[in-house]
């Protein structure tokens, strides 16, 4: 402090005192008091509700939270995470700064970047969660990085996803292993492949996957798009798509409206090669009669895009303590192991399992592999997500080119 005038100091302290809101935010570093404050709270957790297995897992979490911490968890099922972001924004617009309707959001990537930019998130809190240490963030930087942006403690890791292709082995013997092979395969099997319509999340991820493989300026993708020559970097992608589209489902005149919709098309027998962000998607769909037992999963030879998904707390949540206790519970070995088991959900753990003690490690042991599931070591080759600004730029450019048929 440049000046030590007592009066100024006094004024500064008084002003500081006034900036603390009436309902003080809990201090994440004082965990005991957070847990105490959380008792009896109801946490509204906004999470995509399109998958019954995810819903069932969240249901299980709610029961555990009630029993272990006396925190009630309500799953607010969304059809689109963007609607939760829109909600917090509307609340801020209306001046509701301390009694928001959302306590925890399942989020990552673009949505996280947007909320951070508009100061819609509470934090930092993630690194103060007692279980956070189990992720071993120093060796696993992906748990503190979201689409190249440092999370800075504003969201807490929850699970891992990676682009996984699947095909019907009864119709296709050798599935394509890279983008050029995919083009050749599509020419031989017209109408048998598609990707979700942009700006869908899974569809946009396919664009990024293709771009990483096709461009010769891969490094540029990990900087904001404004720092490079967009046209030059993406030129090979558009040339590729121009060649690919005539061989897609419906000759590229229509696209499925979402990632899960690809699975339905596969289930109807309209296409025979598809992909998902969830590595266990195909196996689960076989178990639930959606796909034939001849379906097999694989990852492209050069690796595929993968990312971590997180939970974050809106700045105006009235139950931040409860939300933090929930985020911490989600990181516990018990909850992570349940989540990973194929019988429950099948979403991969963010914990560094080899660092856990032997007894805890046994929690994560899986039974026999489902034949439609990926081999255990298939996910070693994960490509990191580009900077979020690329997603928006690619979406706009795609819509510009192919948005009107």
């Amino acid at each position: 402090m440049p000046t030590r005038h007592p009066l100024r100091l006094a004024i500064a302290i008084t002003m500081l005192a006034f900036t603390v809101p009436a309902s003080a935010n809990p201090d994440p570093s004082d965990w005991q008091s957070v847990v105490a404050q959380a008792e009896g709270q109801t946490v509204y957790w906004n999470a995509w509700g399109g998958d019954t297995r995810t819903n069932r897992y969240i249901d299980w979490v709610a029961k555990q939270m009630q029993a272990q911490y006396d925190v009630e968890v309500e799953h607010v099922k969304l059809d689109d995470t963007g609607s939760a972001v829109a909600r917090v924004l509307a609340e801020k617009q209306a001046g509701n700064n301390d009694d928001g309707s959302i306590d925890l959001i399942w989020i990552n990537g673009e949505n996280f970047a947007a909320m951070r930019e508009s100061d819609l998130l509470f934090g930092p809190f993630a690194e103060s969660l007692p279980h956070f240490a189990l992720t071993n963030a120093t060796d696993n930087p992906e748990v503190v990085t979201d689409f190249t942006l440092p999370t800075e403690g504003y969201e807490s890791p929850w699970g891992k996803a990676q682009i996984t292709f699947y095909y019907d082995s009864a119709q296709t013997e050798t599935p394509p292993q890279d983008m050029q092979a995919l083009l050749a395969w599509a020419k031989d099997n017209p109408g048998q492949f598609s990707y979700p319509r942009i700006p869908d999340f899974t569809g946009s991820t396919f664009l990024k996957q293709a771009l990483i493989e096709l461009t010769d300026q891969e490094k540029a993708l990990y900087q904001p798009v404004s720092e490079s020559d967009f046209e030059a970097v993406t030129e090979p992608l558009w040339a590729y798509l121009d060649a690919l589209h005539p061989h897609l489902w419906r000759s590229g005149r229509a696209f499925p409206d979402s990632g899960p919709n690809l699975r339905t098309l596969m289930s109807d027998g309209e296409i025979s090669l598809a992909f998902s962000f969830y590595p266990t998607d195909a196996a689960v769909a076989v178990m639930e009669y959606e796909l034939p037992e001849s379906v097999r999963s694989y990852v492209l030879e050069g690796g595929t895009l993968g990312n971590v998904h997180f939970v974050a707390i809106p700045y105006n949540s009235p139950h931040k303590a409860g939300a933090m206790v929930l985020a911490n519970f989600l990181l516990s070995p018990e909850a992570q192991a349940q989540k990973q088991s194929l019988a429950m959900w099948g979403d991969r753990s963010v914990l560094d399992i080899e660092q856990l003690d032997a007894e805890t490690q046994t929690l994560f042991e899986q039974g026999d592999r489902h034949p439609s599931e990926l081999p255990a070591d298939a996910l070693s080759n994960t490509l990191p997500e580009p900077h979020p600004s690329w997603m928006t730029a690619l979406q706009n450019a795609w819509l510009e080119r192919y948005g009107v048929n």
């Binding site: 509204y44 906004n46 509700g49 399109g50 019954t52 819903n55 309500e74 607010v76 099922k77 969304l78 059809d79 689109d80 963007g82 609607s83 939760a84 972001v85 829109a86 909600r87 924004l89 509307a90 801020k92 617009q93 209306a94 001046g95 009694d99 309707s101 959302i102 990537g109 673009e110 970047a113 947007a114 508009s118 109408g191 319509r197 700006p199 489902w249 419906r250 000759s251 229509a254 696209f255 409206d257 979402s258 899960p260 919709n261 699975r263 339905t264 289930s267 109807d268 027998g269 309209e270 639930e288 009669y289 959606e290 796909l291 034939p292 819509l399 192919y402 948005g403 009107v404 048929n405």
Partner: protein, 557 residues
Amino acid sequence: MLRLAPALIIALLVLPVGAGLMMVLLPAFGYLPTLGGHGASLAPWQMLFDQPGLGRSVMVSFASGLVSTAVALVIVVLFLAASRGTWLDRGIRRLVSPLLAIPHAAIAFGFAFLIAPSGLVARLISPSLTGWERPLDTLIINDPWGFSLMAGLVLKEVPFLLLMSLAALPQLAPERRLMLARSLGYSPTIGWLKTVCPSLYPLIRLPVYAVIAYATSVVDMALILGPNLPPTLSVSILSWFNDPDISQRFMASAAAVLQLGVTVAALLCWWLLEQLIRSLTRYWLINGSRQRGEIILRLVGRSALLFSSITALAALVGLGLFSLAGFWRFPEVLPQMLTLDHWQRSGPMLATPLINTALIGLISTALATALVLATLENEHRQHIQPKRALWLLYLPLLVPQIAFLFGLIVAVESLGIRPQLGLVIAGHLLFVLPYVYLSLAETYRRLDPRWLKVARSLGVSRSAAFWRVRLPLLLAPLLTAFAVGLAVSIGQYLPTQLLGAGRVTTVTTEAVALASGSNRRLIGVWALVQAGLPLIGFILALGLPRLLGTHRRDLAT
């Protein structure tokens, strides 16, 4: 008290719509301080008009509203003209009113599965007739000009327009008109079209306008059946409002205002068409031609409505099969095995949404019915003609939901009202009330006044006459209006989700959330549950009067 009812109703409906529109208009012209928009600007509009395919989106929204309404209206009018009260005609009528209860999204899912290249119809004829071992790669659903969307809309509009026409018809005494026409040598269908139809149309005009407004801005059906390169305007608006890039809200708001413009333009265009048809048919009405076209009109009249009803039912059967299906792939006509798995998995999650749905539906419909009755009774006691201001009642039906609901959230939050069950009920009231009014008003006004005069002359007070004479006489139409109100409430998605912040879960919000996972088996389960609820309402509405022993056939229907 009673005198306040009309004002109360109008305030209840107009204020929220007005406030919501205001909160969308401001950002549409650049004012949204939270996102750094402080002044008036046209930038959101420029951005909007730069969107690829905007023109096509607007065209499809506009055209699907007009075309689907026109087709549905023609089907209904020709059916009424051709129907002669045979058992077949009565059977079709009975079939149609439950169809009104089935939510749009459920019909859309079922219809999509019916007509897709891998759908039920293609399976029935494959590979035996077509030789297709794999589904054909042709674009049927999501076609660029929205034909499948229009067809889906027609399926839902026909039952609504038919029910509204059946409610309005008795006051025209169509039998007498027809008898006169026949005695002059007119064949029945032509006679009906020349003597009854011109008087019927003014009575169902408002419902027709409501249908146009709905069809130009529909979201759920357009998502499932509509084009996607580019989608309809309403679908684009929803995705812009929910875009991760939140600065898109400016453009989304501008687009919401544009949607209002498209709907108004479609209504104007329809009005012009009305004038045109009126002058074009003037000569035909009086040219004395008595027979020409009778046979073809009668055939079309009977078959078109039958066809659309059977299509809607087949769509539901497809959903039902899927809710029980094991593995089931093209070209198999039936699933390889049937299983109760999907129902069992959904079972435990059904309780809360079912209770909420019933609670919201019953309370909002009860409130709406009470308010409508109060308004109508007031009108009757004061001997006043229906006020012109009552047009405002239809505001929530004429202004697209997507144009004002997002703004309404901001307005409600600014007042410090937090999302809760009560707010959702109030939101549903906005849409339930106009429909209850629409289905009840005409019957109420035309109840023979002599019944009440007799009651009064026997020394009964006004309110006793209302409770003991009027209500029992109107029991059947009252219950039908109640069932319509319930069906409207149960089908609401956006108002429930937005006003309840997703905390108040209903069968419909759960169904939409699950639909985003694209698992057709689960969609089948939830769509059937969603359709089943209002169906119970309709069965009760039809059955209760008989149970209560009020067999007064010739009084009010």
